[in-house]
């Protein structure tokens, strides 16, 4: 099922003015279908149809008057079929469908055909119509999935999401290298003599991934075949053990797309630290005890090093911002026709970092909101460009406190992390192309 539009409520911005309800009433006639009510202790709360995936209102309708639309996801109501029994209202735990005495029948949100009047009327930014992601998912869902169903990634891992998105876009004319790490470990390279992907996929050594891909690409070029060669590597295969061959291939300008999926350690083999592991992190090789306080040095920031290789394209990405990722993937694919393209995608690991599996996307988002992760891309001609502003970050502690591997940290450690985050942003800002007058 494709993802669908939704209306997001941000209670911190709501002042209870009621403009959304007026707009809804005006647009639909009768009572507003969006309801903002005073909170129990403070603030404002919302009652609105959630356009549920498995809607109880529909199940409770004896007349077939309610129906979930397969493409838009909107739970629609038919005046013609409704018999005014109101049993639908018993199914809804959100106050999303209610009897409207003025209209004489139940009313519910229909998303205004994709342009919700309530969102347009909210001057406080408390309502957001989220649709970009929906369109993105719809577009990707139409493309062929290149991996077998049932990859056995850990619960909550975002790498599967990332590689399925990536390979749906790249398509069949491709060859994938998956060096040792979580991505082959979850079954992409196959097992029991069967492959886990619809395209040729191989399992190079940690040390030679970029070199092998470069050679494969050259051989296909010799044969006159246009093939995308892509590495789906972990941080071990890029930042640490794989660095020498990666650096060499980038220096030579091999026409390769190298994607580093960075979970900040060797999570597949028992959570050992890697060069990418950040300061303060608990890992099995940087333990926390009487002496150890987690990793004592900062992580190596590979995207910045890749800029120094003069790659055709370098970018960072987060799966909480998939539209941003897809835009960068397009640019990276185009750049990989002429030279080396490098994508660095952050992959918080629920298993190794100790946070609930359901929180991965929220963790990704918080990394970016706190500038712990910055989103940018770089070309030799255009310099560095932030694709999401870094000006008003949340305190990095908001992110760190979500993660179990940091839970031993003292305030002084948090200060150090905050300082290094701030310093990195300043450094990156230095790579921005400045106007000539400056």
């Amino acid at each position: 099922m494709a993802a669908q539009d939704t209306i997001r409520f941000i209670p911190q911005r709501c002042d209870g003015c009621g403009d959304c309800m007026t707009a809804c009433s005006d647009a639909k006639g009768g009572a507003s279908r969006i309801s903002v009510v005073a909170g129990v202790d403070q603030g404002w709360e919302l009652a609105l149809c959630r356009q549920c995936g498995d809607p109880k209102c529909v199940a409770n309708c004896p007349a077939g008057a309610l129906d979930k639309h397969g493409r838009t996801g909107v739970v629609g109501w038919s005046a013609e079929l409704c018999v005014d029994c109101h049993l639908c209202t018993l199914g809804c735990a959100y106050g999303g469908i209610a009897f409207d005495p003025a209209a004489g029948h139940v009313g519910k949100c229909d998303m205004c055909d994709g342009a919700p009047a309530c969102v347009a009327a909210c001057g406080k930014g408390a309502l957001e119509h989220l649709s970009a992601a929906a369109r993105l998912h719809e577009a990707q869902a139409a493309r062929e999935d290149m991996f077998v169903p049932g990859l056995s990634a850990c619960q909550g891992c975002n790498s599967e999401l990332l590689i399925r998105h990536t390979m749906r876009r790249i398509g069949r004319d491709s060859i994938v290298a998956a060096p040792p790490g979580c991505i082959p470990g979850m079954g992409t390279v196959g097992y029991n003599g069967q492959t886990g992907s619809k395209v040729p996929i191989f399992h190079p050594l940690l040390t030679n991934t970029a070199a092998m891909l470069g050679g494969i690409k050259r051989q296909y070029e010799r044969k006159g075949k246009d093939v995308t060669v892509v590495a789906l590597a972990g941080d071990g295969g890029a930042v640490d053990v794989g660095f020498q061959s990666l650096s060499g291939a980038a220096e030579r300008g091999e026409r390769v797309l190298f994607i580093c999926v960075d979970n900040e350690g060797y999570m597949n083999t028992g959570m050992q630290a890697s060069g990418s592991t950040t300061f303060g992190s608990w890992t099995s090789t940087t333990p926390v005890g009487e002496v150890g306080r987690g990793k004592s040095t900062d992580g190596k920031y590979l995207p910045q090093l890749m800029m120094g290789h003069g790659c055709a394209y370098v970018a960072t990405a987060s799966t909480a911002f998939l539209d941003d990722y897809h835009a960068k993937l397009e640019r990276a694919l185009a750049a990989s026709r002429a030279g080396f393209a490098y994508l660095h995608v952050h992959a918080p690991c629920p298993t190794g970092w100790r946070f609930p599996a359901a929180m991965t996307t929220e963790v990704c988002r918080r990394q970016v909101e706190s500038n712990f992760v910055t989103l940018w891309d770089f070309t030799p001609a255009g310099g560095l460009r932030f694709t999401r502003g870094v000006e008003r970050p949340r305190p990095v502690a908001d992110y760190v406190r979500m993660i179990g591997k940091y839970k031993h940290l003292a305030p002084v450690d948090l200060e150090r992390i905050q300082a290094s985050v701030d310093r990195r942003v300043e450094t990156l800002q230095g790579f921005q192309r400045r106007p000539a007058a400056e």
């Binding site: 709360e45 007349a63 018993l90 209610a98």
Partner: protein, 417 residues
């Protein structure tokens, strides 16, 4: 007819059966899944029938599930297949036409049948009932020529039908042996508001009367216990329903008034489940085993039964039935959730607010156990959850009593955010 075999066999084709079917397919995409319907029509809801009588719902547009839906779920609907006997030892059911189906897992979702009071002279042919689509169509045809109608019973079916017949221009009388309408849901004051609406629309409401004798057809002469004599061109018996358990005669499946089930909708017999109006399951408020024959309960129970039949690990066992209903009458709106008619006392605290419509809130230990509202908008679904979750209303008590709609919405919104 030869034997046929299904991994999942569902007997009954209304809400409980439909939900079970969908729930089974969520976890078992392949096992053969067959629904047996005693009807020649596509599955429909008994709740729709008064609207078929009135003509508001066209009989060809009331299907709850059509052929495409069954095809999409890779399930088979067998129509005109009325099950008359179950043989749990052989894991088989027998049909009225002599056919036989065997099963691995059986769901009995046979619903309920009209209960006909034992009254002298009240014979089949002299009266209508309203439980099937054919019943509704027969009443619709008859109402076109009848002038005087008597409805026996002031439950939801009786009142819906009385409203329909009155709107169609008939002289309608409702006879109910209990002192007021909808006694299973509403207290006397609330019921009086509903009863008055009927009287204003010209319906004669004879409450607290019992039918003693009936004689003849068209007109059917009716003698009530207080000496009232009535004549009916059209007599509708809507004096309640009883679970359709006849097919279990002689089997070890335990029944009381309905089929006894546990919190996974399992009967006492291996491989046999029951759900919906035919099932008798734990009541939430009393812990006693009750028949809670409402549509939302059938949905709830059907889903649980289906999940358990397919071994769905995400099943949350049944929390217990809560009486609840919504009721629209003459363009107005009534809601009853929980034990809304509970009298004051014995720990139950009753607050009645008539400032804006009618609202009766019943609390116990500052937790909601029932709420009835007439001409006042409340979110029945949220109130249901507040009762189920035994939400402590102490911090918002006064606000809840004065503004149940907004306060309940705030509580629920805060809960899911």
């Amino acid at each position: 007819m030869t034997d046929a075999h299904a991994k999942y066999l569902i007997v009954g084709a209304s809400h409980a059966g439909r939900e079970a079917l969908a729930a089974i397919r969520m976890s078992d995409p392949d096992g053969r899944l067959v629904m047996l319907s005693g009807e020649k029509h596509l599955p429909y809801s008994p709740t729709i029938l008064p609207y078929v009588v009135s003509g508001r719902s066209s009989p060809d547009r009331v299907a709850l599930a059509k052929a495409e839906w069954f095809a999409g779920n890779r399930a088979e609907l067998v129509q005109d297949a009325r099950v008359v006997a179950v043989d749990p030892a052989a894991r088989a059911v027998r049909l009225a036409d002599g056919g036989r189906w065997t099963y691995d897992r059986l769901l009995l979702a046979t619903g309920a049948e009209p209960a006909i009071p034992r009254v002298e002279g009240l014979k089949p042919g002299a009266y209508h009932v309203l439980r099937t689509l054919d019943d509704a169509l027969a009443i619709r045809v008859h109402a076109a020529s009848a002038r005087r109608a008597v409805v026996l019973g002031a439950g939801l079916v009786g009142l819906h039908a009385a409203e329909t017949l009155a709107e169609a221009g008939l002289d309608v009388t409702v006879v109910e042996m209990r002192p007021h309408v909808l006694a299973e849901y509403f207290d006397a004051k609330a019921a009086a508001l509903i009863g008055e609406a009927f009287e204003r629309h010209g319906v004669r409401m004879l409450m607290g009367r019992r039918l003693e004798r009936a004689a003849g057809t068209e007109p059917c002469r009716l003698d009530l216990d207080d000496g009232t004599e009535l004549e009916a061109d059209l007599l509708l018996v809507a004096a309640g329903v009883r679970p359709a358990t006849d097919l279990l005669a002689g089997t070890p499946v335990a029944t009381d008034r309905g089929i006894l089930v546990d919190e996974r909708m399992r009967t006492n017999v291996d491989g046999v489940w029951a759900a919906g109006d035919v099932a008798q399951a734990k009541g939430f408020l009393t812990g006693q085993s009750i028949i809670n024959g409402t549509l939302p309960e059938a949905v709830e129970q059907g889903r649980i039964a289906g999940m358990d039949m397919a071994g769905d690990a995400d099943l949350v066992p049944y929390g217990g039935g809560i009486p609840l209903n919504t009721y629209g009458f003459f363009g107005r709106h009534a809601v009853a959730v929980g034990a809304a008619a509970t009298p004051e006392g014995e720990g139950a605290e009753v607050h009645t607010d008539r400032s804006d419509g009618y609202c009766r809130v019943v609390l116990r230990d500052n937790r909601l156990i029932g709420l009835a509202a007439i001409d006042r908008v409340v979110d029945a679904g949220i109130l249901w959850r507040l009762i189920q979750r035994r939400t402590d209303l102490t911090p918002v008590r006064d606000r809840f009593l004065s503004h149940p709609l907004e306060t309940a919405r705030a509580l629920m919104s805060q809960g899911w955010r």
